[in-house]
């Protein structure tokens, strides 16, 4: 049973415990280097007895009487026991980067089950990994954008962003013609008929830099660049310090100052662990190139919603893709190229 291989401590309420010679589940030979250190273990990597004791003590402090009480109580129902169990396991799970596929599946199961327990509705969550030979890139045609903002709407709906604070990943900047890219003088919250005379429009969002400064500064490695180039956040590992927000030169990251709320019937049920699953208060979030869509071969919601065709998305490694043709044939540029962040988001004009 994989319980013994788990990288965090379980309550083990209804299960019998099997003991091995050591905690790694490997009976033969030395086990010191074979186990990937993760989460708790990264800090608590001490011999078995002390570790177990430590875990139990800390867990006792952290969760306190609450979870243990409800999960061990004879009076409370199976459902609340399950809830407490899920909460417990979720609390002590490892960093997503270090999870095995089995562990990923389990946390996804727990999250979907917990949603079901809370709302009675089912969602489909995926933890699909990056595809081989795929590197995502994005191109934006400044000549074509008319400032209609259909992309913003589509993004909010797709990615379950908080409605009350009107969180938006995409910003559309209305720029004065003749003043160039002057973000200080541009207006990203206009409301009048568009396109307005004498103005042009450009969108910004997370550029999924190939050399992302936000990843560099994260003290807990809760954000990283995936193999297909998408910069993601583990919402359960993020401590909300907002270093990444400060490090991003493009204003690509957003912070949840309150618990994000989405009306039940508007919740996008097709979710990805690293993408649009429901977030909590005090964590960062941002554009993920709609990871739940792009890893299935679909275009991000903004690309699909754009009525002008300003937005192009695709595989940079596929020489036949539209995005590659744009890079090879149009005069493209990126924002703040001199910073060396290597954004995978190119602008071009007709």
């Amino acid at each position: 049973m994989s319980n013994e291989n788990k990288k965090w401590f379980s309550l083990n309420l209804n299960r019998s415990k099997k003991t091995d010679s050591c905690g790694c589940g490997n009976n033969s030979g030395s086990c010191s280097d074979q186990k990937e250190k993760d989460g708790y273990d990264q800090i608590m990597d001490v011999p078995m007895d002390r570790r177990a004791a430590f875990k139990k003590i800390t867990a006792g402090f952290l969760i306190g009487a609450g979870a243990v009480n409800s999960s061990c109580s004879v009076i409370s129902g199976d459902e609340s026991k399950e809830k407490a169990n899920i909460e417990w396991e979720e609390y002590f799970k490892g960093n997503y980067k270090l999870m095995t596929n089995e562990e990923k599946d389990k946390t996804v199961d727990r999250l979907t089950r917990s949603y079901e327990l809370r709302t009675g509705k089912n969602l489909s969550m995926s933890s699909k990994d990056a595809e081989e030979d795929v590197l995502f890139g994005y191109a934006f045609n400044i000549s074509k954008c008319q400032g209609y903002m259909d992309c913003v709407n589509a993004c909010v709906e797709e990615n379950n962003q908080d409605r009350a604070t009107e969180m938006q990943y995409i910003r559309i900047h209305e720029m004065d013609e003749g003043k160039g890219f002057n973000f200080e003088e541009s207006d990203d919250n206009y409301y009048h008929e568009v396109p307005a005379d004498g103005h042009f429009y450009m969108g910004t969002q997370c550029f999924h830099c190939d050399n992302p400064p936000c990843v560099e500064v994260c003290p807990v490695q809760a954000t990283w660049k995936e193999k297909d180039g998408i910069v993601v956040i583990d919402y359960d590992w993020c401590i909300g310090c907002r270093y990444c927000m400060a490090a991003c030169p493009y204003d690509g990251r957003r912070f949840n100052w309150k618990t994000p709320e989405v009306p039940e019937k508007e919740v996008n049920k097709k979710q990805h662990y690293l993408g649009n699953r429901l977030r909590k208060k005090g964590v960062m979030e941002k554009c993920t190139f709609c990871i739940q869509r792009s890893r299935e071969g679909q275009n991000p919601a903004c690309v699909e919603a754009c009525p002008t065709g300003s937005r192009t998305f695709g595989n940079l490694l596929d020489p036949k893709s539209n995005i590659r043709w744009i890079l090879d044939n149009k005069k493209v540029f990126r924002l703040k190229e001199d910073l060396g962040t290597e954004p995978k988001f190119w602008y071009y004009m007709d």
Partner: protein, 207 residues
């Protein structure tokens, strides 16, 4: 014991740092990476075929670009034209002035009257097809051939993928909208309209 632990930690740190270093400096720029890792052909397992389901398509093959566009004829409400146009246009002229003429809703706002009129694209001798400037027949499904006679730069960009819009997904096979899927050929310009949303919170925050 403590020294051993510190040494082990240092070794791990070094290992981690060196790994990071290697990965970071493998390519100087992302363009170098793209060039170096470009794949021969589309050998990804992903396909956007399921997203293209339900869209009737025709294949475009122009100058080495192969892709799909939506089929057009079945989408035109009154096609075939010859279902009504059974007799010469002269005989179909308005009988009374208060009667609505056929195609009353079509207003031509496309180039100047000196450059274009109905007969630039349509011909009375072959209603069911379009025709080119040199009077060769163009199928309604391939109407981009009519447009590309003047809009050469747009045509070039469209073939490559810089103009227009991809349907379905990014994964192959490529299915792109054709000219008339976005532009009304009789009034091709986009109209002004209001943005679909206004962020009231941003206004408050920035006060």
């Amino acid at each position: 014991m403590t020294t051993k632990l510190i040494l082990r930690l240092m070794a791990i740190c070094l290992f981690v740092v060196s790994c990071k270093h290697e990965e970071k400096h493998k390519y100087h720029t992302v363009v170098d990476k793209i060039v170096a890792e470009t794949i021969e052909s589309e050998n990804t397992t992903l396909t956007s075929e399921i997203y293209n389901e339900g869209i009737k398509t025709v294949t475009v093959n122009e100058d080495g670009y192969d892709f799909l566009i939506p089929e057009r004829k079945s989408q035109i409400a009154s096609y075939n034209c010859t279902e009504c146009h059974t007799e010469p246009i002269e005989n179909l002229k308005q009988h009374q002035l208060d009667e609505k003429a056929a195609h009353w809703n079509i207003k031509l706002v496309h180039a100047s009257a000196e450059t274009m009129n109905c007969a630039t694209c349509h011909t009375s001798s072959d209603m069911d097809n379009l025709h080119s400037l040199t009077n060769s027949t163009i199928d309604f499904n391939y109407s981009y051939k009519v447009c590309s006679q003047c809009h050469q730069q747009e045509f070039k960009d469209w073939k490559g993928g810089a103009h227009g819009k991809q349907l379905g997904g990014w994964a192959p096979p490529r299915l792109s909208k054709t000219c008339v899927n976005c532009h009304n050929p009789h009034q091709p310009a986009f109209e002004k309209r209001w943005p679909v949303r206004f962020n009231t919170q941003k206004v408050k925050e920035r006060k």
